[in-house]
Every structure is written in C-alpha cells, then in structure tokens.
C-alpha cells in the first residue's frame, strides 16, 4: 500500500467497509445458489439408507458414496431413460432449428422490407375463420367442405372487401402481433392443439411436439433477431444485392454469418425452453414421445414415495446438456443475447 491513509480515494473507488459488505452479500448469494445444486449432486451418490437416515453433508466423511442410483437409472430402467433422452434431444434440436430458421427469416424480412397489409382484409379473414370453426364445431358441418368454402370465399372477396376501406398496418404492428403471441399461456391453446393432433393421428409423436415448441418459441426468436438484424449495417446487403445476389443468397452468405452471436444466444435460449417444456409435453405425449421432464415428473408417482437418489440422477442428466451447450456458446452469449435484448 503506497497510498497514504488519509489520501482521498480515487474516483470510482469504494470505501473499505462498503467493499466488505458487498463481498459478504455476493458470497451469501453464491452460497444460496450453489448449495441446492451441491445437495442435488451428493444426493445422487447416496444410498437409500444415507438419504433416509437424516441429513449427511460430506461424502466419504458423513456417508459412503455409491453409484447405486446411477446404476438403477442406467441399467434397470435403461430403455425408458434412453428413450426419453433421445426423444428430448430430437425434439429440442429439431424444434429449435425450425423455430430459429423460420423466426429469423421472418425477423429479417420485417427488419428490411416495408409491409403494408390491410387491416380490413385481415379482419375479414378472421371472421371467415371464426365462422368456419363455429360451423364445424357447433353445427357439425363437414370439415373439408367448410374449409373449401371458406378458402374460396376468402380469395374471391378479399380484394373487394379490402377496397371497401383501407387501414394499413405497418411492420411494427406485425412484429408486435408475433411477439404478443408470447402472452398466450400454453393452457389457453393446448386443448385445441391436442384435438387437432388427435384428429390427424399425430398425438404422442415427435412431429406434434416439434411443431408446437417451434411456434411457442418463435416470438422470442423474432424479437431477439429483429433487434439483431437491425444492428447489422444495411450497406452490406445493398452491396451484395448490387453484386447480383438474391435475397436467399444475401441471407445465407452475408446476414447469417454476421449474426452468429445473436443466433447462438437465441438458439441457446430457445433450446433451454424447448428442453425444459412441461405443459405441452404433458398433453401431447404419453409414452412413445415422452420427454425427460415428463419422465422426471412421473417419478413422483412411485408407491414407495419419491426415490430421491434416482430423481437426483435424472435431474443431473437433464441439466448436463444445457450446461455443455452454455459452455460451448458462452463466448457469444454475453455479447449476443444481452446486448440485443436489452436494446429492445
């Protein structure tokens, strides 16, 4: 310490007492965050006896760790575990890929092209849609016939209706419409989705969950990527356009490589949401397409009460892929998601 005791502090420096208090708070919170995870880890290597006979804290000191629970899950219930794992991976990866692709395409076109749909035409479309639903659902009209009539009516009269009165929407309205889908609680739409998939016999398949997750997460993708695309200078794309590139080529060659940071962060976030999703999976999958959250939640129902040791193992294997992904994408996350999201 070359600085004298009574010398004034430099700008931006803290008093020693507040520094100590700050560290105390941060350490206390770290403890609060880490302890449950620590408990999860040690419970996974406890024997049933070590769990039931009261709290033991330190492996090798308090109790003898064993891989008993791991063996249970991976040897005895191997088929179930692996199936749920594979299902989860397939569904999370495909739905993320789908929603990032479709969502970022939409975000890109919204950030670059001025749309001006007519509100009246949209209302007309909605009225037809509601009418068709009522006709089919309440009055038992034939599904395909009603749909055909509705579609025909729409295309025949859309232009005429649109000319009656014109209220132009803008890109901001479309963007808001897409993002506001996130307000919908899954419970509001899940019953019709259930009936929909049931009627095309896709219940309990990967396709049902992939499509549903993709749509549920799309608002996040559109929102984050819209901000991100807006931060890419347009000169680059205009230059590519002049050089003869098509929109697809510009998107693939120029825009996507430049949005790597934003895409990685968005992908991670959407992947976590898809990986952890519970309510839709509860409705739309029963056995064949069962995902990890359902498998874990179902462990509640054993007749011997909850087997905490097996449960801990299941939770740990569920967390591992997310952690791995987060580490891989880590360098993009800090600059991608947060900057983009916070600006919006």
């Amino acid at each position: 310490m070359s600085r004298g005791l009574f010398e004034p502090r430099k700008i931006g420096q803290m008093a020693p007492a507040s520094k100590v208090a700050l560290y105390a708070i941060l350490l206390a919170w770290s403890l609060f965050v880490i302890f449950p995870i620590y408990w999860l880890l040690i419970t996974s290597v406890k024997t049933p006896a070590a769990v039931n006979e009261g709290p033991f804290f330190l492996p090798w000191v308090d109790f003898q760790p064993s891989l008993h629970a791991w063996r249970d899950l991976f040897v005895l219930d191997f088929a179930d575990t692996v199936r749920a794992y594979v299902n989860s991976i397939v569904i999370a990866l495909s739905s993320t890929a789908l929603s990032v692709l479709v969502g970022s395409m939409a975000a890109y076109s919204l950030s670059r092209i001025a749309f001006a749909p007519n509100l009246i035409t949209i209302l007309y479309f909605l009225v037809l849609l509601i009418g068709a639903c009522v006709a089919i659902g309440v009055f038992g009209a034939d599904l395909w016939l009603t749909l055909a009539v509705a579609v025909a009516l729409f295309f025949l009269l859309a232009r005429a209706v649109g000319q009656l009165y014109t209220v132009r929407l803008q890109n901001g309205d479309i963007l808001f419409w897409i993002i506001s889908q996130r307000i919908l609680a899954p419970i509001v739409v899940v019953v019709p989705i259930y009936i929909m998939f049931q009627s095309v016999r896709l219940l309990d398949t990967h396709v049902a969950l992939i499509l549903t997750y993709a749509v549920v997460n799309m608002p996040i993708v559109v929102w984050l990527m819209y901000d991100f695309f807006n931060s890419i200078p347009r000169d680059l794309e205009e230059s590519a356009q002049l050089d003869g590139a098509t929109m697809i080529m510009t998107f693939r060659e120029i825009v996507l490589p430049l949005s790597r940071a934003g895409l990685s962060a968005t992908t991670l976030l959407v992947m976590i949401f898809a990986w952890n999703e519970y309510l839709f999976a509860l409705f739309l999958s029963t056995s064949r397409a069962q995902t990890l959250p359902i498998l874990v939640a179902a462990m509640n129902a054993g007749e011997r009460g909850i087997l905490w040791w097996t449960m801990s193992v299941a939770i740990i294997i569920m967390i591992i892929p997310v952690v791995v992904l987060a580490i891989v994408l880590q360098k993009y996350i800090s600059k991608g998601l947060l900057v983009g999201a916070v600006k919006g």
Binding site: I11, G12, S18, L22, L26, S30, V33, I34, F35, I37, W39, L40, G54, P55, F57, G103, M105, A106, S109, F115, L126, L129, I130, C133, G137, V138, I178, Q181, R182, I183, L184, I187, V188, V190, V191, P192, M196, L211, V215, M218, V222, M247, I272, N276, Y278, V296, A297, N300, I306, M311, S312, I315, I319, V322, V323, A326, L338, V339, A341, V342
Partner: protein, 362 residues
C-alpha cells in the same frame, strides 16, 4: 421466374412464420373460445359439442366453482371495507384526473378496462384475504406474480448493481449467479422439495432445533405458497440479474465519474444518473417476467400438486385439472379468464408504465 422470386422473397420469408402462428396459435385460440362456450361430451369415437352460452363462465365466476377460481365470499370485515373503499377512491381519483388532463376516446376506454380490472381485483382482495377467508386460484396466481416478480426484481437488480461495480472476482460471481437459469423447472421443484424436507433435508437440524421437526410446510397454505415463490425466485433471479447487469454496464462510465466529480454521493449518483437510464430496460424486464409468471404451472404441480387443498393452485393448473377430468368447456373457460386477466394487466402495464417512460424521454 427469377425476377418474380426476387420481388416476392420478402413475403416468402415472412410467410412460414405467419402460417405456423395462424395454425398453432390463432386457430387454437379461436377454437378454445368456441370450446369455452360449449358443452363437450365424449362419445365412442370422438366428441360432441353443444352450445352452452355463458354457462361455463357462470359456473366458474358465480356458480359451484366460485370458491375454486375466485375464493370463498362472505360479509366483508372492517379492514376489507377500508381497503376496498380506499382502492375504489384512489382509482376514481386516477380516472378523474386523467379525464381532466388530456382526454381521448381510445385512452379513456383503455383506462376504463384497466379501471374495471383493478377495481374487481381490489374488492376480491378485500373480500377474501382481508376478511379472513381463503382465496382461489386467481388470488394465488396474482400472489405468485406480484410477490414473486417483486422479489426477483429487487434481488436481481441489487445483485446486478453490486456486480457492475468493478471489483475483483465479479466474473466468477456472474457465472455462479447465472447457473439456476440452466436448471430445468421440474428439477428446481424437486430440489426445493428436498431442501425443505424437515426430517431428511439439509436443514433438518435447524427445524428440530426450533421445534418444527414434525411440521410439514406442505400442509400450511402460506408456507407452501411462500416456498413456491422461493423456488421460482431462485430460478428466475438470474434472468433479471443478467438483463439488469447488461443495462447497468451500458450506462457510460464517464457519466458516473462526472457525477462524482460534481460531488454527488453514491446514492445520489444512483438515483439521479444511473436509475433513469436503466429504467426503460427495467420496465421491459419486468414485463417479460410478469408475462411468464402468469403461466406458472410446473412448480405448483411438482412441489405441492396444488395443495394443501387448493392453496397453491394456479389458474393454469386449475385448467389442467379440469381438462384431466375431461371437462373441456370449463378448462377453456378458465384458460380464457386467465388470458383476459393477463392481457389486461400486461397491456395496462405496457401502456401506462413502459410506454409512458419511453414517451417521457425527449
């Protein structure tokens, strides 16, 4: 062909998203509305729907399920009257003040909807909780939203501000604080059930010492609700933390230093310089959290199955239970009530708080 593709590529880029949302979001939304007004009966192969009018809503709001959704009503206590009347007066004052300042029809209608919702919720609060009677799933959900989001916001912002000070090791803290976000909500539910176990959990000793060894938090309504909020906060504080951290770090450092040179103290600098700059982001973060919090279903289902009784049941969970007992009409009606409350509260918040801040900025 090539030219045509080039010209319409923008629409083709947007179309898949719009179609997907129409099919999996707008259509189900409408279908759900129709279901909410129908009686659904399952027959051999499929099901039959019959128009039922307002009966599903009637049952939930005024009928046999009233205690479940809204709570048990009875004569109001003195405290209930006082709070209810005070809230009514405050709301009327707010509306009158608005009408006197800058009246527009759209603004007035919007505020009247907000007004009606706030009034209804205030009297609900006065009639159930303040009069000593149990409240229903709407009250429970609001408890999760208001208390949960409030706690998450306060702690998350405080931690973010602490981490934004340049101190040694702040990177490590950031990584640690981020971890709970990666843990699946189901996992969080179970981990906290383990933690809260009064006989086998890590704090068994503490429970015994205070003489609550045989007590179970799952049998006490308030303890159960608070425990769910603690678990929810543990999971979501990282989200608030990381967003607010980015916000704090985006405040130019020289502003800070200029304020300090001007002789402003820490608190003064925070209130006058930093807070106004992060406020828009804070409002947005809050909005996102509130939207997600209204959907809460997994934690109550895992941790308490909605019990004891209906004490921890959220509206989503109630709708799920209704669906499980094959009452599709009620499930849809409950879901729509939730949607209505969510939309009114979120849109009010967005218009009156977020947009007001944005507009106030020059």
């Amino acid at each position: 062909m090539d030219q045509w593709l080039d010209r319409h590529m923008g629409r083709l880029f947007l179309a898949p998203a719009v179609v997907l949302i129409l099919v999996f979001s707008i259509f189900p939304l409408i279908a759900s509305l129709i279901l909410a007004f129908s009686r659904v009966r399952f027959t051999g192969g499929g099901f039959r729907m019959r128009f039922a009018g307002w009966r599903n809503f009637d049952k939930q709001i005024f009928g046999s399920e009233q205690f479940h959704l809204l709570g048990t009503f009875g004569p109001l206590s003195l405290l209930g009257w006082i709070v209810g009347l005070a809230a009514t007066a405050a709301l009327i004052y707010w509306i009158v003040r608005y009408c006197r300042s800058h009246f527009t029809v759209v603004g007035f209608v919007g505020r009247m909807i907000t007004f009606a919702m706030a009034l209804g919720l205030a009297w609900l609060f006065a009639a159930t909780l303040l009069s000593g009677r149990p409240f229903g799933t709407v009250g429970t959900t609001l408890f999760y939203v208001i208390v949960g989001c409030g706690v998450q916001f306060l702690i998350g912002t405080a931690l973010a501000f602490a981490c934004s000070q340049h101190i040694a090791g702040s990177r490590t803290f950031r990584v640690i604080f981020f971890v709970p976000m990666m843990i699946t909500p189901i996992g969080v539910g179970y981990i906290f059930r383990m933690m809260a176990d009064t006989t086998k959990g890590p704090f068994a000793g503490v429970w015994q010492w205070v003489g609550l060894g045989d007590w179970s938090w799952a049998t006490d309504p308030w303890a159960a609700r608070i425990f769910i909020v603690v678990a929810d906060s543990w999971q979501w504080i990282p989200f608030v933390f990381i967003m607010m951290l980015a916000a704090f770090e985006s405040v130019p450092r020289d502003l800070n230093e200029a304020a300090e040179i001007d002789g402003a103290g820490k608190w003064m600098t925070f209130r006058e310089i930093i807070w106004p700059q992060v406020l828009p982001i804070a409002a947005t973060v809050m909005l996102i959290r509130v939207i997600e919090a209204f959907k809460i279903v997994d934690l109550p289902n895992i941790m308490t199955s909605g019990g004891p009784g209906i004490a921890t049941e959220s509206v989503s969970l109630q709708a799920y239970y209704a669906w499980r007992s094959l009452d599709l009409g009620s499930a849809s009606a409950i879901a729509y009530i939730l949607l209505f409350i969510t939309v009114v509260i979120c849109v009010s918040f967005f218009n009156l708080v977020v947009l007001a801040r944005v507009r106030a900025k020059p």
